[in-house]
């Protein structure tokens, strides 16, 4: 009898540890497992998938009469825009100007990729001549000011700022007011916005990323709050449309309509989708490189805008 009791206690202890580990794994650990490739995990975009001058690349190719020579502007930018600016380079730069070592662009390459935060630093530090990004954060603007660099912003395309949820979430549409209310902590359960009785977990991005800056701008100074039990409920996050749809392409998430308008190209172009923002070519106003203006003029020409459109974005100059 005593032996049976002891065995029972031993098994109970083992069961407690197993149950604890399984619960933590199912509720927390599993959600952080990243199913994307190592390239995506390291850089938010697979660089070799959109390399210029590469036969296997998925970038948009066009034949242009313009071929830049001489002092080539060094290009950098955001992950979401990498397929676009890589396409620009492919169209008008000489092939020998791009050097890729299999993982990164080398220092002498005219094409660089350091994502939004790195790119804003590079254009201020002078290691990049033109960067392609969303609007800068307050810190990025302050960094430019500290270094007495006057940045010029040329809109080269537009894109929808989207909200995404798990594909199984019954909610398909929110109003802009509801989205802002969720992020301000005014709505804490999905049932308050037409969904089921689960907590809302509003997710944010890293400080200084293009989408986090866009979200802060949308909230217009309103503090973002999160319910402490949100992590046991259903999440909502934000990004830019093409990054979600084209670059990551994860079938486990869906984009939400806002005010009844789904973020497709048509609704972006006719502006019925309510949050459409430009992305910009950004450069130092006092940069003397004469090719900067030539390159920017070409980007805004039919050829450059064709690359923007065919890469999955919306041109600023619709044909």
């Amino acid at each position: 009898m005593k032996l049976l009791k002891q065995i029972g206690e031993i098994l109970s202890l083992i069961l407690c540890f197993v149950a604890f580990d399984v619960t933590v794994y199912e509720a927390v650990t599993k959600r952080y497992i990243n199913h994307t490739s190592e390239g995506m995990q390291a850089k938010s975009v697979e660089l070799d998938k959109y390399l210029p001058f590469d036969d296997n690349s998925e970038i948009v190719r066009i034949n242009s009469d313009l071929k830049l020579s001489g002092e080539l502007p060094v290009i950098d930018g955001a992950a979401a825009l990498y397929p676009v600016f890589s396409g620009f380079v492919n169209a008008v730069y000489p092939a020998e100007s791009v050097h890729f070592d299999g993982e990164n662009f080398t220092a002498e390459s005219a094409l660089q990729y350091t994502n939004t935060r790195g790119a804003y630093k590079s254009v201020v530090d002078g290691t990049a001549d033109i960067i392609f990004c969303a609007k800068p954060s307050a810190e990025q603007l302050a960094y430019a000011e500290e270094n007495q660099v006057e940045l010029e912003f040329i809109p080269v395309g537009s894109e929808a700022f989207v909200f995404l949820v798990n594909a199984d979430n019954p909610v398909d549409d929110l109003t802009l007011e509801q989205v802002m209310g969720i992020y301000a902590g005014e709505y804490t359960k999905w049932s308050e916005v037409g969904g089921d009785d689960t907590f809302i977990e509003p997710l944010q991005r890293n400080e200084g990323s293009g989408s986090q800056t866009a979200m802060l701008s949308l909230m217009n100074g309103k503090e973002m709050k999160k319910h402490p039990l949100g992590f046991i409920g259903r999440s909502i996050g934000f990004s830019f449309r093409y990054y979600v749809e084209g670059i990551v392409g994860n079938g486990g998430v869906k984009m939400l309509s806002l005010n009844g308008a789904y973020p497709d190209r048509e609704n972006i172009q006719n502006r019925s989708y309510p949050i459409v923002s430009n992305f910009y070519a950004v450069y130092d106003k006092n940069n003397p490189n004469p090719n900067i203006q030539v390159f920017l003029d070409w980007i805004l020409s039919d050829e450059g805008q064709e690359i923007v459109e065919k890469s999955g974005y919306v041109a600023v100059k619709s044909s």
Binding site: L13, R31, Y32, T36, N166, N169, R205, R234, V244
Partner: protein, 45 residues
């Protein structure tokens, strides 16, 4: 089973169980540092 053996077994299970919890927490923290918001939403509900 003697009391001594019984408590020794409980101690070993507690040590192994605690190590597995610590391991899981470290693994989760490591995953969190490189988590993607899109994967996180897709893996959840």
């Amino acid at each position: 089973m003697s009391e001594k053996l019984f408590y020794r077994i409980l101690l070993i299970i507690t040590i192994i169980g605690s190590l597995s919890v610590i391991g899981l927490v470290i693994y989760t923290y490591h995953l969190q540092s490189q988590a993607s918001i899109i994967s996180y939403i897709a893996n959840g509900r």
